[in-house]
């Protein structure tokens, strides 16, 4: 086989080759879920790199507010006149960094990649329920990305009201330069993005509910699929609310309505808008926005559940509890949005209610964490790169999750709201943790996507530098918040009390730069291994799930012959009595008589009788 195995496996000799694949249909307008997954992944990686570079730019400003960097002017022109980033551009950087990371990387890049890749492969389907819609989903996503990036080429600059784009700041063009054309592009991009996300999510749900292979009932699905399924449900229910909010904002901006605007005076100019409320936007935005953070983290949790189980060579502890906690998070995430609004002047009674619901959501999250720890207990842990990232995810999820208990408490939020404490909190729990989930997934399923292995040593380097630097970046930021330093400040030079944090800022920026450089190890490893990596075997991690029963070479339709039948749950690792330390889902119980447990038969009396008979005849032999 040549080194470019990707390119020469399209001989349509696998029973459903009634269409001819050209370069265009195979790589560009592909309707194959695996190719779409790769498209999502690579686009997501590119967007992540862009967003990371943006963050380095504003970190440079924060670390050296008085220094000039002529190079910045070379690249950024008038936005960094004299080599210093301007305040407006700083806000634009912060805004676009947040938008890209939350929506394009951690929603589309993460969900899009692994939903597309894993749903058909782990459930035993030939493709998605609607491959065409799946393709549209990707292309809408790409268009949204392009529009978002195009706002950098607009005279007034990209949207800069923060990723939450609160009106009136975002609604009135004269409030700040970024609220001009840049904001319009942001809104258009977001509508298209939501369309993409909806098409994707509907497809995922339809596929999961209808296209599981024989024997794959809901309680035999891997946790990745459960997580992806619930994420898609969340997306379907919450993203439309964002669209309605965005549409109203577009109306306010372009057609003179007053949904969010009232009583506005800029200088001495009295705006004609009357009767709206800026708080309405916040309700609509966070009705999506809070489920959104679970849309970001749940697939990562699902991926890490799978990876931790495979690499601990142990069943995931409390499979049912894991599913129920995911369901609990899904349901609760819809009734906690108000905790983003404790200090907006919302009725304090509501603040109390939202505090209660918010802290309840910590319970299922705690259960998940403890179950991860219990899975590691007495395992036989293989530290593959994916496993390292999964362990890193658990660490971040704990660290960031615990600070959520502070912020979810309305009375503590008074003093912590919109400070660096919040920045530290969500960068750990949904930023770093979700990114680590995504990276874990990439390292784990790379062989499935590209038929090759990534270099583990470079991956170790990547993991350790990133893991350590992420903590070095985000841990000190908590203390800035506890000192009352608000977020989205262009410079700390105007306040006496912030001067003491300047050195910390420099340290944090250096850590961020090192972390960014470590990603070069990943990028090199990723792109190099696509073409030159060691060839993968069919089941390199010795995992149970269905995707590892497909051939290494990409097939449109996934399995050359019949789709395999599933007999057992996906977590039979190190089962006592079994010859190997893993039993794939496709292995019937009749082939593993020595390791079957009464529990496996789910009350099937006939099977239990056969098992008992077998044990009666074989037990002495075994002893």
């Amino acid at each position: 086989m040549s080194t470019i195995s990707l390119h020469d496996t399209h001989h349509d000799d696998h029973g459903h080759g009634h269409h001819h694949e050209t370069f265009l249909t195979k790589y560009v307008f592909s309707q194959d879920h695996k190719m779409i997954a790769k498209q999502f992944l690579i686009t997501g990686i590119i967007m992540a790199v862009i967003a990371m570079l943006l963050s380095i730019l504003f970190r440079i400003q924060l670390a050296w507010p008085d220094k000039t960097f002529p190079l910045l002017e070379t690249f950024l022109g008038k936005w960094a006149e004299g080599g210093r980033i301007k305040p407006d551009f700083f806000l634009a950087l912060v805004t676009i960094h947040g938008t890209i990371m939350v929506f394009f990387v951690l929603t589309a890049g993460l969900s899009g990649t692994f939903s597309n890749l894993l749903i058909p492969l782990q459930l035993g389907a030939r493709d998605m329920a609607s491959p065409f819609m799946n393709m549209l989903s990707y292309w809408f996503f790409l268009v949204a990305c392009v529009i978002m990036m195009s706002s950098f080429f607009v005279q007034t600059g990209p949207a800069s009201g923060g990723w939450t784009v609160y009106p009136p700041l975002s609604a009135v063009p004269k409030a700040m330069p970024g609220s001009g054309l840049g904001m319009t592009l942001w809104l258009v991009s977001m509508v298209i993005f939501v369309a993409s996300s909806l098409m994707g999510s509907l497809n995922y749900v339809a596929t999961i509910l209808n296209m599981r292979t024989k024997g794959m009932d809901l309680w035999k699905m891997p946790l990745t699929i459960w997580a992806i399924f619930l994420t898609a449900v969340l997306g379907i229910l919450s993203f439309p609310v964002l669209v309605s909010g965005v549409v109203l904002l577009i109306f306010d901006r372009s057609f003179g309505t007053s949904f969010y605007l009232s009583d506005l005076v800029f200088g001495t100019e009295i705006l004609p808008n009357e009767g709206g409320s800026p708080i309405l936007w916040q309700h609509l935005f966070w009705f999506l926005g809070h489920p959104e953070v679970y849309i970001v983290i749940m697939p990562a949790l699902g991926i890490s559940s799978e990876i931790i189980s495979v690499n601990s060579r142990k069943p995931i502890f409390g499979y049912h509890a894991m599913v129920y906690s995911l369901i609990g998070i899904t349901v609760l995430s819809f009734i906690v949005w108000g905790h983003h609004m404790f200090v907006t002047g919302m009725n304090p009674l509501l603040g109390g209610v939202f505090m209660i619901t918010t802290l309840i959501i910590a319970v299922p999250s705690a259960v998940k964490t403890f179950n991860y720890l219990a899975t590691l207990w007495r395992g036989n842990i293989r530290f593959t790169p994916a496993m390292l990232f999964a362990v890193g995810l658990v660490s971040f999820f704990i660290s960031g999750g615990l600070t959520g208990i502070f912020l979810g408490n309305a009375s503590l939020d008074i003093n912590l709201h919109d400070t660096y404490f919040v920045v530290a909190h969500f960068h750990l729990v949904m930023g770093s943790a979700a990114i680590f989930g995504m990276l874990a997934g990439v390292y784990h399923w790379f062989p499935k996507m590209f038929g090759r292995m990534m270099n583990p040593k470079l991956a170790y380097l990547h993991f350790w530098v990133t893991f350590i630097c992420a903590y070095l970046v985000f841990f000190p930021l908590h203390f800035l918040g506890l000192d009352g330093v608000p977020r989205r400040y262009y410079a700390f030079t105007e306040f006496e009390f912030m001067n003491k944090w300047l050195t910390v800022n420099t340290f944090v920026t250096w850590s961020a730069i090192v972390a960014a450089l470590a990603q070069v190890a990943f990028l090199f490893n990723f792109f190099y291994s696509i073409f030159r990596g060691k060839k993968a075997t069919q089941n390199p991690w010795e995992a149970n799930t269905l995707e590892w029963t497909t051939p290494v070479e990409r097939l449109h339709g996934n399995w050359p012959g019949e789709i395999p039948t599933v007999y057992r749950w996906p977590y039979d690792y190190s089962k006592p009595g079994a010859a190997e330390d893993f039993i794939p889902q496709t292995t019937p119980f009749s082939e593993t008589m020595s390791s079957n447990l009464p529990h496996d038969f789910e009350g099937n009396e006939e099977a239990e009788r056969i098992q008992k008979e077998w044990e009666a005849t074989n037990k002495p032999v075994q002893q």
């Binding site: 190079l71 800026p278 200090v343 720890l373 590691l376 502070f406 709201h417 350790w464 009352g484 330390d581």
Partner: protein
């Protein structure tokens, strides 16, 4: 594992090493050349060029590549000698996790003590003390959980690292344990919710005390400015109507409301100690956030909506200066909600003083109402001022307008920044 492959690999590795040596020599040559040309000067300018850092980074990449190749050669030699895998990466990673735990725990301790001592001083308000109590309780609980779970996580990672001699323990679930670790966090969180809820209520649901009525102060935010309005002798801040905003009436104060007539301009917030104050918060243009971290006070100011925050400052600025051992200490009001270009510099000085000082200060403040505004609102120009001293009123007015002009100038300066 044919010998041929090994040889190929070895040649490849050797080639790679030669290649990298050549290249790094090359890079060094370039650098020395650069250094040579800059010899009469210092290295300063070179340290400022991006190329220098790019070269450094490439050098680092080469270094890593060389190490990678060397490791590969080592592993392959071990393989040909028939020994087990050269380096047990699994153990290395497990050990690194253990090491990370130890260093990390120390790091956390260091952060808590060093950066932890740089945070806000004790709360300077009544409710702030309760918030800090709540905070400390939460901090203790979360720190315990944080440390324990991380110890468990990394110790398990170390102890249960892969070994050929062992098989993992098949342990799919245990309902009792799962119930325990559902219920225990639920109970702890119930405690936190209850306490949080009570604290929250005590902050926002204040019983009216007829003997100790709060001082009403209005704060209106606009882009990068806080406008402070104190009530006059009537203790009531008059109405505002944004539609009345003009160049001379920037806040749109409705002087048809007689409560407005005696309202005072203040260019800082001065509060008497141990007296409740009730801030009326409003915004002219975009959302800002009225944030006074030392008092544990924050509430957004929202255009089209008036909100209130009532609290009692308990420590004067002077007392706080001695407490924090910082003679330059000042309370501060800042904006915590992104509001535009100068969001990072939207501040107001806040002073907490004794009752007497407060009264003295208040008496020196000028009213909003000027003769120009009187004309605009068809109010009678005070005639009783004339017999008392004809020159005084215009003088007062002119200082008021001067102050206004000064404010304007400040605005422009702020905008220019």
């Amino acid at each position: 594992m044919s010998l041929r492959r090994l040889i190929v690999n070895k040649t490849m590795a050797a080639l790679a090493v030669l290649f990298t040596v050549f290249y790094s020599a090359n890079a060094f040559a370039q650098e020395t050349a650069a250094a040579a040309t800059a010899k009469p000067v210092d290295m300063g300018p070179i340290h400022k060029t991006a190329t220098f850092y790019v070269l450094l980074f490439l050098l680092l990449c080469l270094f890593i590549a060389i190490i990678g190749k060397a490791l590969k050669v080592y592993e392959l030699t071990r393989e040909t000698q028939g020994k087990s895998e050269g380096i047990n990466w699994n153990t290395i990673n497990a050990v690194l996790f253990a090491l990370f735990l130890v260093v990390g725990l120390y790091g956390v301790y260091w952060e808590y003590t060093v950066h932890g001592s740089m945070i806000l001083p004790e709360a300077a308000s009544e409710h702030g003390v309760r918030i800090d109590e709540m905070f400390n309780l939460t901090l203790i609980i979360t720190t315990i959980v944080f440390i324990l779970t991380h110890i468990v996580l990394f110790v398990f990672a170390y102890i249960y690292r892969s070994s050929n001699k062992r098989k993992a323990y098949y342990y799919p679930h245990n309902n009792t344990i799962e119930k325990i670790w559902t219920i225990v966090p639920a109970l702890v969180l119930t405690l936190l919710v209850l306490k949080g809820f009570l604290t929250w209520r005590s902050i926002f649901y204040k019983a009216e005390d007829a003997n100790n009525r709060p001082i009403n102060i209005e704060v209106v935010s606009s882009q990068f400015l806080w406008d402070i309005r104190y009530p006059g002798p009537d203790a009531i801040v008059g109405k505002r109507n944004y539609k009345l905003t003009t160049a001379i009436n920037g806040l749109g104060i409705d002087f048809n409301d007689k409560n407005s007539l005696d309202d005072l301009i203040a260019d800082e917030i001065v509060l008497p100690v141990n007296k409740p104050v009730r801030f009326t918060l409003a915004s002219k243009d975009v959302i800002h956030s009225f944030y006074m971290p030392h008092f544990r006070v924050q509430l957004n100011t929202v255009p089209g909506m008036v909100s209130y925050f009532e609290f009692t400052p308990t420590i004067t600025t002077e007392e706080m200066r001695t407490k924090t051992n910082d003679p330059k200490f000042n309370y501060i009001l800042l904006c915590a909600k992104i509001c535009g270009t100068n969001h990072f510099n939207m501040q107001k000085n806040v002073r907490v003083v004794s009752e007497a000082e407060y009264k003295e200060w208040l008496a020196a403040q000028t009213p909003y109402l000027t003769n120009d505004l009187r004309k605009a609102f068809n109010l009678p120009i005070p005639v009783e001022a004339a017999p008392a001293g004809t020159e005084e009123t215009p003088a007062a007015d002119s200082t008021a307008t001067a102050a206004a002009v000064k404010l304007d100038v400040k605005n422009q300066i702020a905008l220019k920044k």
